[in-house]
Symmetry: C2
């Protein structure tokens, strides 16, 4: 089915001035402008289909990721799409192992975010050419083809290609029923929209009350900047939602290991299901120590949105460092690398609860978690996907939430495409929105 | 002593076409063009002193690091140098924790390489204003001032500020004698210049024979691409140097964990002191498993040149994952972060054997390891610094090697300054050298 040669790759620096309203603010990212390096792939086929790829950023630095996308472009341009997806493992390896570029990674930070943007566009294009939403493309793929997209380098000590195939084969049982279940009821979500750190209590209360009315039952609150403030806000939100509903906490890497244990011991009375990102995303052994210390309090550790590749996830699983694994659609090397993480999580029996929010993260990651349920985990136990009510209006195929669940996308592709006018207006620094803001700031 | 306001930051993309001769080639980096993002800081003081900072790259991608340096520039410009070094911990934190930029790191990959380049320039300028070579500036600093340059975030579970001070205080004993010893005999080095993977056997033999004549006693050989080839080359070099001299092997991340153990078991007969970078630089637990498996064969594990920050080094030490720790002057956040690693290594009693080579890495890291001997480790046991005989001619204050030892630099600064003409000719893509090459390649 796939066809065409990649004839053009363009990349845009698109930023939304979210810092003006304190949206998305946490203990470490106090003034984020939700942004994206936005990739558009065109082919020489006259079907009008383009591939759109996104990686999420926070404003400054988007231009650095854009620069890295351009550095990767020669690996994509003039390639036949059939050759790319026909040897997707090889293509992934080519992007991530460029003999000169890998030095400034490898498979981490800016170059890996750029890899994600490029490969997300390839997956979007592939799914569009097949006329399926991405989750359905994956669900319909046979196990052998799925694993042929994965680079197993550096993870064969915990997951071989054969094991991965076997996991996928075993999960064939009941696939049809699970797909029907998803189409009927969707994938359960939780909301982070009520309790950003920058929100005053009145806003928090109002948003929380609205969310309860809308049927939300699981809530996340940002913590970590000030203990007394956290106690007040956690008490407020726990009182609002009552003892039965689920509360999660998120420190966004604010603490050192001993501090995390101490601080969370003091917040334990509010019965959080998990503490997310208690410390550095690189600290596997630190997360393991925190997990061990907090287990008796009934608090699990969750992390992943800044874990930079499958090697880190592998070790988090090996070290029993987390109870909830949070994949991200834009930090890992696209679907390819996330597939390997979903399979490792299944092997270790750790639930995947994706990170979302930002710009487009909800749109993208819903495909991965719906696929995970249908074809890998086959379970909703302890599982839910983050949801943030932000910026969906800029997407051509925005998420559809019904009764606090993600309803499976029906349009072909990876839901990555933004509205042309939104891109145009928010291009940095020359889009209309930024021209106005920068003029007002006197820049 | 320090004074002046940073009035200008410029950054250059400087590349040397080393791939043409196979210099620097290894199992993962087959065609490196040794390059640098080169930062120049100027102040408003009329003393003519500038700070030069470097981070090492392999060609493509240097432009991405340059872009990241420009993104960091607003944190440096118009700052008073006294304020910067007077609260160096705070300044380090400011660069690495920018609320928007940290998302594309944090403290890893492109943004951290850029941080290194900027901070290396600050240290060079500071040392120049003090009229001392950097190692001497550090040696003369009191423990309290030294630790005030370190950001202890994420490492306090293994090293607190108080412990760091105590280590430095204890190492005051015998400092003067060790400084004299360094000035008289230098710091022991080993050579990697003989056995790049791209060299034919005849070249290897000739270089090895010359190195023996020049008094070298420790040699490193690149391995990992092809086992039979490795056996042939290791036999050749071991026969050339004899059974008493030291041989190290370097796989540059080529293997998975089980493969590393298997492969090295087959190379054990050539008695390597260490195997360097057997697998992914992110795989702490993998390195620990390899260390455990190879210990009975008398082979230690060495790694560090691509370990992206102090949190990774902390864990490598915690997990007993290495027997030799290889700091790098340009991948970590400059002297500031390397100080924390030297102190952690001392606490765990693991010898530091720096990574060098590339462009300027020898020039820079010699300062750190000489300081380490005088003020921290106080030992040469199992210690040596890498040396590669490349590109020194482009530096204003090139390394001085005498009897296979690094002689302590005497000029003020961090030895980071390149010759103006070298920079001009090798600027990419508009320098004379590249104009010619690119024209010849038809670009």
């Amino acid at each position: 089915m796939v066809h065409g040669r990649v004839s053009r790759l363009s990349v845009h620096d698109v930023r939304f001035p979210t810092s003006l309203g304190g949206h998305g603010s946490d203990a470490m990212h106090t003034d984020p402008d939700y942004s994206a390096a936005y990739v558009v792939l065109e082919t020489d086929v006259e079907d009008g289909l383009k591939g759109y790829g996104i990686t999420f950023t926070l404003g400054r630095g988007t231009e650095v990721v854009v620069c890295a996308v351009n550095a990767l472009a020669p690996h994509v341009l003039n390639k036949d799409l059939g050759d790319i997806v026909g040897d997707f493992r090889g293509f992934y390896r080519q992007l991530t192992s460029d003999g000169q570029l890998r030095w400034i990674g490898p498979e981490k930070g800016v170059v890996h975010l750029a890899t994600a943007a490029v490969l997300n566009a390839v997956w979007d294009l592939w799914a569009k050419q097949e006329g399926k939403p991405l989750w359905k493309l994956l669900v319909d793929m046979d196990p052998q083809t799925l694993v042929s997209c994965i680079d197993f380098r550096y993870i064969t000590d915990v997951l071989t290609e054969e094991e991965a195939c076997e996991i996928l084969r075993q999960s064939q049982v009941g696939k049809k029923e699970r797909e029907e279940q998803m189409l009927a009821h969707g994938y359960p979500a939780y909301t982070t929209s009520c309790a950003w750190l920058g929100y005053p209590d009145a806003t928090l209360k109002q948003l929380c009350s609205e969310a309860l009315k809308d049927g939300w039952t699981r809530f996340k609150v940002k913590v970590g900047a000030d203990l007394q403030d956290d106690i007040r806000r956690c008490r407020l939100i726990r009182n609002m939602i009552g003892p039965e509903k689920t509360l999660m906490m998120d420190a966004n890497q604010r603490w050192d290991v001993p501090e995390a244990v101490e601080w969370m011991t003091k917040l334990a009375e509010f019965k959080p299901l998990w503490i997310e990102e208690p410390t550095s995303p690189d600290d596997i052994l630190g997360h393991a120590a925190i997990s061990k210390a907090l287990a008796p309090l009934g608090i699990g550790v969750a992390t992943g949105e800044q874990c930079h590749n499958r090697v880190i996830f592998k070790q988090l699983l090996q070290a029993k460092a987390l109870k909830f694994l949070q994949i991200d659609s834009c930090r890992l090397g696209s679907v390819n690398e996330n597939l390997s993480v979903l399979l490792m999580a299944k092997k270790f029996d750790i639930p995947v609860c994706p990170h979302a929010g930002g710009v487009g993260l909800c749109e993208l990651v819903q495909h991965l978690i719906i696929f995970d349920f249908i074809s890998v985990s086959a379970s909703l136990q302890d599982r839910m996907c983050e949801y943030v009510d932000h910026l969906h209006e800029h997407f051509k195929y925005p998420v559809l939430i019904r009764e606090a669940s993600y309803m499976p996308p029906k349009d072909a592709g990876y839901s990555t495409e933004m509205k042309e006018d939104s891109v145009k207006r928010h291009r940095y620094p020359d889009g209309e929105v930024w021209k106005k803001l920068l003029t007002a700031q006197g820049n």
